[in-house]
Amino acid sequence: MISRRRFLQVGGAVVGAMAAGPTLAACGDGGTANGGAKASSDLALPTYKPFEGLRPDFPGAESGLEPGFLRFPPDAIASVKAPPLKNAVSALTETFATPPPPMGSNPMWQSLNTALGAELRLTIGTDPGYPEKFATLLASDSLPDLMWLPPNQGIPNIGPMLEAKFQDLTKYLSGDAVLEYPNLAALKPASWRTAVVNGKIWGAPIPSTPFGQVMMGNPRTWQKVGGLQCSTADEFFAKCKELTNGTNYALEPAIINMLHMFGEWFGAPNGWRVNSDRSLTYLYETDNYKAAVEYAAKLWAAKVFYPDLNLADATPKTVNGQIAAQVTVGPRATSDFRAMDPTLFVDTMIPFGHDGKAKPVYDMGYGTVGFTPFKKTDEGRIRELLALMDYLSAPFGTKEYLQKNFGVEGQQYQLDGQKNPVLTKAGTQQTPGLVSALQIMTAPESVIFNPAFPDDTKKIYATEQKLLEHAMRNPTAGTYSDTSSKVGPKLTAAFRDTIVDIVTGRQTMDAYDEALKRWKSGGGDKMRDEFAAVLPASVPVTGS
């Protein structure tokens, strides 16, 4: 328990799982391994046919802006004609909430089984530890029908692994073939790219918010110093000092995450910087990131970080004011604070230039949480599993979406005054762990929706628009490097160890260059070459 948060920082897994950290470029999602680049460009992605009959209150946009809904559509539409399953299906997935009661004593799970037509037997891993579970299961050779494959937890050698053990689904999903599964056809081409490796489609992608980490602060705490928003790094520093006294602290002790925020203010790139000659410079190699590390060390020396590095979750302390600001998975995380204190709507920091003049960046996330490949099997079974994925990927506003996320009316949820589904007491017990496990392995395109607080949706939508002004995407997203897939996670972990040493004063800034040298010779330079060789022409130049 105590180590959870720490693992998240070190391992680079993602809190809440809904967005990928920006420095996790090391996540081959496939596409070009072993000369597969050409094959991948020849591949016809599944035809995109958005879900009809639903009008959001705030429209989404190509930029990544998520559509917002103030209320749940009153007459949920059925998007699936018949229950998808005839035989039980087993699956490996992960939950980011407290694990749910087991199937036998979980009416929510049982009602889902009824709706699906057969039992959905989930093996639910917890965080951290999923890659270990995945790898050991893989080595045991008795695979479940479905295995969620995260893009950012450092599962190595994805290409050969898929070829060896999993089912090529190209002929069932490519082009118009996907139209047989309308909910899968409603997933965007950008999402599908995640599931393409070696020019083949290996599963249905799992879209998530395209936004990345943000800093959030309790407005009641920050009002003493004129609010959370700042225009220079010095101003932020002064505010932090002022907010730290007695047993109150300005910042949560998640150093790597905080450093990510500072990096944005200092103009550090999202993963890789694309220079004007189309060469690549990694985050760690930029002076911007180095400056951010120095800034973090200055804040640490000023003792504004909460002094217990093992703090598992800062959320309760932010709510009660003991910690002023923390880093969350993305702009929609305001609901985590609402869940603890319904009267609290936290502020989201909009990145600013460190000296008030420089251009800040906002790092967009990965956009999906990977895909779920199938164990090798026969055509009948493949069609059955695809129908299951189709059901579980039903978009917001459908009957299937309600069943998957809220259960059965009168049992797990009730409709409130505005006809929005709200979990009952039984629901809050049975659903979160299960829903988290289902959402991480299957998902429709994301929306902003806050059942009990429609106003929050409006505010989050506005925040997203502001963040998009500074948005930067990881230029290597959607491409693949063998070296990155194999040693990237290890190199990142080693470099981060040094950074944390520097920030906490255990090592001096001299250690930075030494660690960078090791990162480069250990595989960093090779990754650069591999990524540069497949850099898409559409990626814009982000540096000089």
Partner: protein
């Protein structure tokens, strides 16, 4: 030597097999669960160490992964992190041996000298209890009392003093680790010494007391010699196991003091092998550790023989 061994074997196996079986079958039966346990959970997994000589990929399995000879060991040799981990492990082991090992003996002597049975039982119970707490709880307890936001430092802050970084100072980390270990396990480790103490003939004390030996002389000339065999035995076991300084205790505190102070061989194996996906390097480090451990065990046992102690295993015909 070979000759002697074979001759003693013949003398010892005087009984025919059937007769031996009739005499010992209950003993053998009692042993079966233990042997099966060792076989399944220790000896069979040992075979998995072959991945140390492979470029192991879990989806290919042991059968289909490529062999790469000693490459993993060469990589380890070139990896400064491995040497850091080894250095930390040895340092922590030495500190544990010096500061932890004597504590249970002292505790046992104290408990043994308590006259009131009631007080003695209370003391024992309290001393045993922490052993049953997991490391997560122990570290949390230390964190809550000595951590940066803990009880002691909050008191210091209220008194207007600077907090003391008990939990985050890498230089004093070995002491912190031993303090935790003593708190958790010294009471439990005392049991075996207490058991050994009960075998001391009370009449020896009476005779010594009658001859005018004081408390300390009795301790020195009767109690400690009686404990000597057990102490040496446990010392050898400890030395054989010395590279296993602990895992959870370190992984839980690794970020507080940094890997420079808290990375030990076991956490290195975990981070490089399981987390980093480089299973073969992890296995190579584990194997290297096992070999060193076995050598140490053999060395310590030989030394014990030279000093005239039985040690933990003997050549046939001895004892």
């Amino acid at each position: 030597m070979l000759k002697r061994t074979s001759s003693t074997t013949r003398v010892k196996s005087g009984l025919p097999l059937a007769a031996k079986w009739r005499r010992d079958w209950q003993m053998v039966l009692l042993m079966v669960p233990g042997v099966v346990f060792l076989l399944v959970f220790f000896y069979l997994p040992v075979l998995g160490n072959v991945v140390a000589f492979q470029d192991f990929q879990p989806f290919l399995g042991i059968m289909h992964s490529e062999w790469n000879g000693l490459q993993n060991f060469v990589n380890l040799y070139d990896n400064p992190d491995f040497w850091d981990a080894l250095r930390n492990t040895l340092l922590l082991a030495a500190v544990q041996l010096l500061l932890f090992f004597p504590v249970p003996i002292g505790l046992a002597l104290i408990v043994d000298s308590l006259v009131s049975n009631r007080v003695r039982r209370w003391f024992q119970t309290i001393a045993y209890l922490p052993h049953f707490l997991s490391w997560v709880l122990v570290v949390t307890l230390f964190q809550q009392s000595l951590g940066g936001a803990g009880f002691v430092n909050n008191l210091l802050r209220h008194a207007g003093l600077d907090p003391i970084p008990f939990m985050t100072n890498p230089d004093t980390f070995p002491l912190l680790v031993v303090a935790q270990l003593v708190w958790k396990d010294a009471g439990w480790a005392m049991i075996i010494f207490l058991a050994a103490l009960t075998t001391v003939d009370v009449s020896l004390y009476e005779a010594a007391a009658a001859d005018g030996a004081g408390r300390w002389r009795r301790l020195w000339h009767i109690t400690l010699p009686a404990l000597r065999t057990v102490i040496v035995l446990l010392l050898i076991l400890r030395i054989g196991d010395i590279l296993s300084v602990g895992f959870e205790q370190f992984i839980l505190q690794r970020d507080s003091v940094g890997p420079g102070a808290a990375e030990v061989l076991d956490t290195f194996t975990y981070y490089a092998g399981v987390v980093g996906g480089d299973w073969s390097s992890g296995a190579a480090a584990g194997l290297a550790k096992g070999v060193v451990g076995a050598l140490l065990l053999w060395g310590a046992n030989s030394l014990a023989h030279r000093l005239g102690e039985p040690g933990i295993f003997q050549k046939r015909g001895q004892s």
